[in-house]
């Protein structure tokens, strides 16, 4: 480590540190070399190398040696003393989590939120009693984690115990996190003693009381073990003594820390469109109580992530086309574009996942796909108001999260990082403003930004240790559109 003493006499030593952050994605391994001085964090160098699927260490080593200007064959041990190293891994788009709750609008909704906020992907969710079909589906899916919740503390236990018995008899092999009615936690653990069960605090100890942090923490712990096992990552952990983060969690922590450390950036949202998924993050108060607005369902957390597995630019392009057809149809008409050209393009990119658009029409097709990712991810992330008339006057019924006060929306991921205009985000969000009878609670007058150097996941790795510096560089590095 290079150290330069800037204050030779009294006070703590201020040193210049080299910090490396690496994000192992499903296609690319991205790395950044940062320099930390008393004036803050600075990006020195940025590299991307193809991810080496069989052994992730090779891609990691290549990124690291290129960042540090070393020979490719330098051993990891030698590289260890060159810089402080942090890394994350997308683990194929996040862990596959199955969520079980009791009532769909209450504990199940919270289980889904907890899973997504911890950087996971919800592959299935079940309410009330598990049916034979549900169990077969679970056994067939074999999720990485099963998040099992239901009942308030001291509340319902019959559904919970029944489901515990059914799960115990099933062939599900993954770890189970129990975050339901605490009164029967011991009993659940005993019934399911043949499985690996981790008991944590209830997601909803009382009706409407949201407590997803403990479950998130447990998911994070299990994710770490899962990411590290296999494909060589344990070697990195052993040599560098640092644990990897799931990439979406790194971004989540950055979004959570920005308003705390950079108060002028309070109330923000970020959209990250990838090849397989679209992530939507927001950090703003979800509900402001007034006489004319009544909240229904749970009060969602201030920092929220949702991830959509059917919305993406490449791997998920086919499913995007299905989901987003109503939006796409309208846009194609507006742009006087032949629907078949879009269909053909999607068929092509689904065959050739690293295809980059060449012609003007192909570029436009890519943009429409990105727009529809924004539209549907926004639709699912953002809450709404329905107008009702009562004898006391007009009242709005709010469900979900209010994003009206969000002032900045940051686009990240391959496509949005490269965006040259805000239209790709502005047009779909404007179209979303009135959805059916609902008035969506969209940011009122947001400024749009691009994560131009694609730094968010890299800075997310550093935010635990250097919150002020990492958030400061994050807000400095985005470019207004």
């Amino acid at each position: 480590m290079i150290q330069v003493l800037l204050t030779p006499r009294s006070g703590p030593e201020i040193e210049m540190k080299k910090i490396v952050s690496i994000d192992i994605g499903s296609t690319w391994t991205k790395g950044g070399l940062f320099c930390l001085t008393d004036s803050g964090l600075k990006l020195e160098k940025r590299v991307s190398v193809p991810t080496t699927q069989n052994n992730l260490v090779n891609g990691f080593r290549e990124a690291l040696t290129r960042l540090l200007d070393k020979d490719l064959n330098t051993s990891l041990k030698e590289l260890k003393d060159q810089a402080e190293i942090y890394f994350s891994s997308s683990a194929k788009g996040g862990l596959r989590i199955a969520a079980i709750g009791l009532v769909p609008d209450l504990t199940l909704q919270l289980a889904r939120l907890a899973a997504m906020s911890a950087g996971g992907k919800v592959i299935a969710s079940f309410a009330f009693s598990l049916t034979g079909n549900d169990l077969r589906k679970l056994e067939q899916l074999q999720p990485d984690i099963l998040l099992f919740s239901g009942g308030t503390d001291g509340g319902n236990s019959s559904y919970i115990l029944e489901n515990a018995r059914k799960l115990a008899a099933s062939s599900i092999a993954c770890p189970v996190i129990y975050a339901g009615n605490i009164a029967v936690a011991d009993e659940v653990a005993e019934i399911m003693s043949s499985k690996e069960v981790v008991v944590t605090e209830n997601l909803m100890p009382e009706i409407g009381q949201v407590n997803i942090e403990p479950a998130r923490e447990k998911i994070r712990e299990i994710s770490l073990q899962r990411i590290v096992s296999g494909r060589g990552l344990s070697e990195i952990v052993e040599i560098f003594g640092c644990q990897p983060k799931p990439t979406p969690l790194a971004v989540f922590e950055l979004i959570a820390a920005i308003p705390t450390c950079q108060p002028e950036w309070s109330d923000l949202a970020a959209i990250d469109i990838g090849g397989a998924t679209t992530d939507f993050y927001s950090n703003t108060e979800s509900y402001l109580e007034t006489d004319t607005v009544v909240l229904k369902g749970i009060k969602e957390p201030k920092v929220k992530r949702t991830v959509e597995g059917d919305l993406g630019m490449r791997v998920s392009a086919e499913s995007l086309l299905d989901t987003a057809w109503p939006y796409l149809e309208e846009r194609l008409k507006e742009l006087k574009l032949d629907p078949d050209s879009l269909r053909n393009y999607v068929a092509n990119i689904s065959r050739e996942l690293d295809y980059l658009p060449r012609t003007e029409i192909e570029i436009l097709c890519d943009r429409l796909l990105a727009e529809s990712c924004v539209y549907y991810a926004g639709l699912r992330h953002i809450g709404g108001w329905k107008e009702t008339y009562t004898p006391q006057g007009r009242v709005y019924i709010q469900t979900g999260k209010d994003l009206r006060r969000v002032r900045a929306i940051i686009g990240s991921g391959g496509f949005l990082s490269a965006a040259t205009s805000a239209e790709v985000m502005r047009i779909p969000l404007e179209k979303l403003r009135h959805y059916g009878q609902e008035r969506k609670l969209l940011p009122e007058k947001p400024a749009f930004f691009a994560d131009r150097q694609y730094l968010f996941s890299l800075l997310g790795n550093l935010v635990g240790k250097y919150p002020r510096e990492a958030t400061s560089l994050a807000v400095k590095s985005v470019e207004i559109l």
Binding site: V103, G155, S157, K296, T388, T390, Q392, V395
Partner: protein, 172 residues
Amino acid sequence: MTDAIEKNHNTAKAENLEKPTIILGVIGADCHSVGNKILELFFTSEGFKVVNLGVMVSQQEFINAAIETNARAILVSSLYGHGEIDCQGFRDLCLEKGLDRIILYAGGNLVVGKTPFEVVEKKFKQMGFDRVFPPDVDLKKVAELLRQDIRERFSQEAGDSGAADSTVRTRN
């Protein structure tokens, strides 16, 4: 010291877990919240664990909360005169959702105009409500009846809800 506090806290928590849970709320598009707050304070002081859903509560919301909390009773308030419409089918929905034995009370200005209370009571009992109360009822009496009804309906069981129980209660 902290141990003592912790212990107190735990005892309080344990006691809370043993109290019978009741669900409270003002049904429909009714925003009258003052009486609702008073009921919450009163029933809490009477030793119930009160889950107050506030104003403008739909039947589905009452039932969702009752399922998650394993509640013994749902107390529906209505002040604005549309209670009869709002409460229609409440018992049926409870049965559909598996709340076979839940106690249903209704109270307030349940219908518009000067209908005699006996008529109102009959109407609501036909809808499957166990007890119906006028606006000027003595709350102490209601709490007493509620305790009695809970004892009678849930006495044999060891601690679980009407939710999983398959004995369908006959209506009044």
